[in-house]
Amino acid sequence: MIDIVVLFFLFGLVAGLARSELKLPAALYDSLSVFLLLAIGLKGGQGLATAELGPLLPQLGAVILLGILQTLIAFGLLRSIVKLGRADAASTAAHYGSVSVATFAVGVNWLMTRSIEFEPQMAIFLAVMEIPAIMVGIVLARGIGRDTDWGLLAHEAFLGKGVTLLLGGMIIGWIAGPEGLAPIKGLFFDLFKGALALFLLEMGLIVSHQAGELRKRGFVIIAFGLLMPLLSALLGLACGLALDLSIGGLTLLATLAASASYIAVPAAMRLAVPEANPALSLSFVLGVTFPFNILAGIPFYHWLALQLTGNPS
C-alpha cells in the first residue's frame, strides 16, 4: 500500500503536468518547511535527552566522510560518464553529496507508519550532512583560495535556514525532554503527517516543472538520477552497519545518503559557482532522484537493510 503522503505528491505532480491552475501560496511552502524542520529537530532532541551522547562524535565524523565521499564519486561520474563541464559537475555533485529534508521526512513517516524504531541522532546526521558537500563542491569547481568568499559561504552553510531550525529544534527538544514537549506535541508531532502531505503536494507541483528540462537532455539525466542514489544508499548502508545502527536507522541513513539537496545546495552553489547551470542540477535532483526516492527508494533501502542484517521478513 502506497503511503498516503506520497499520494499527495502524485496529485501535485499530475496537476502540474496537466497544467492545472493549482498554485499554493509561496508563504505556505515556506511555513511548512519551517514546521517540518522544527518538528524533525524537536523529535531528535527529545530522543537525545534520554540517550548517551558519548558515541555521537565518531558517528558524526563518519557521516561527514560519507557526504564527502559521495560528492567525490558523483563528481567523477558526472565528469567521466555524463561528460558535464567542471562547474556543472561540481555543482551537481554537491547536490548529491548533501541531503534532502523532504526525503528524510518521508522516510521518517514511512518508518513511523510501520512502527519501526530509529535512533534519535538521525536528525543530527541530517543537519551535519547538509554542509560538507557544499564545501567540497566549491573546491572541486574552483580550487582552494582565489576569489571565494569563504566567510559568506560558511555563514550561508552553517546559519542557513535549514541547519538553524534543525539545531534550534534539537536543542529545545533536548532541554525540554519528552515531558516538557508534551504541551506542544499536538502541533509538532500529531500534525506532522498532515503538514508533510501538504508540503508534498507543493513538491509535486515543483517537480512537474522539471519536465521541460528532462525532455531536453533525457536519458543521461534519468540514468544518473537513478543510479547515483542507489550507489549512495549502498554507501550509507555500509556506513550504518559500521556504526551498528538499527534497521530503522540503517534505512534512514541509506535514505539520507541517497537523497540530494534541492534547497541549501542550490542557493550556495548559485553564489559560489555562478557559472554552473542551476536548472541542470535541479533537473537531476527534482526531476528524477527525489521522486524515485520517495516512491520506490525508501521501501527498497529498508528491504536492503533487512537483507544485510540477515533478518529478512
Binding site: 509561496a26 507541483l205 515543483i206 542557493a267 548559485r270 555562478p274 557559472e275
Partner: protein, 102 residues
C-alpha cells in the same frame, strides 16, 4: 504654485532572490545610502520565474541617487553579475523632493 523638484536617477535591478544579501552588501560598499527591495516574478530569457519557491523567486531593488553613483553601480553590477545570473537593470530619470535625502 509649482512644487520645487530636483532630478535624480533611479537605478532598478530585477534579479534572482538568492543574490539579495550579496547585492545589498555591494550597494553599501559602493556608497548607496538607501534602497527598496520588493519581491517580484516574471518571465525572461531564463524562463518563467514564478516565485513558487525560493529557487524561482526574483527581487526588485530600487535605488534613487545621483547620476554618477547610479552609473558606476550599474557598471559594477553589469561586470560582476550579468554573465551568470538572471538580471535586468536599468536607469531612469526621476524627480524628487527633499534633495538632501538622495
Amino acid at each position: 504654485m509649482s512644487l520645487s523638484t530636483e532630478k535624480r536617477t533611479l537605478l532598478c535591478v530585477i534579479t534572482e532572490a538568492v543574490l539579495e544579501q550579496t547585492l545589498l552588501r555591494d550597494l553599501d560598499r559602493l556608497g548607496v545610502r538607501g534602497y527598496t527591495v520588493s519581491d517580484a516574478r516574471g518571465r525572461g530569457s531564463r524562463g518563467i520565474r514564478d516565485a513558487a519557491w525560493d529557487e524561482a523567486a526574483n527581487i526588485r531593488i530600487e535605488v534613487i541617487c545621483a547620476r554618477a553613483l547610479a552609473e558606476s553601480t550599474l557598471e559594477h553590477i553589469q561586470a560582476r553579475y550579468y554573465a551568470n545570473y538572471a538580471m535586468v537593470a536599468f536607469l531612469q530619470e526621476v524627480e524628487i523632493i527633499r534633495p538632501q535625502k538622495f
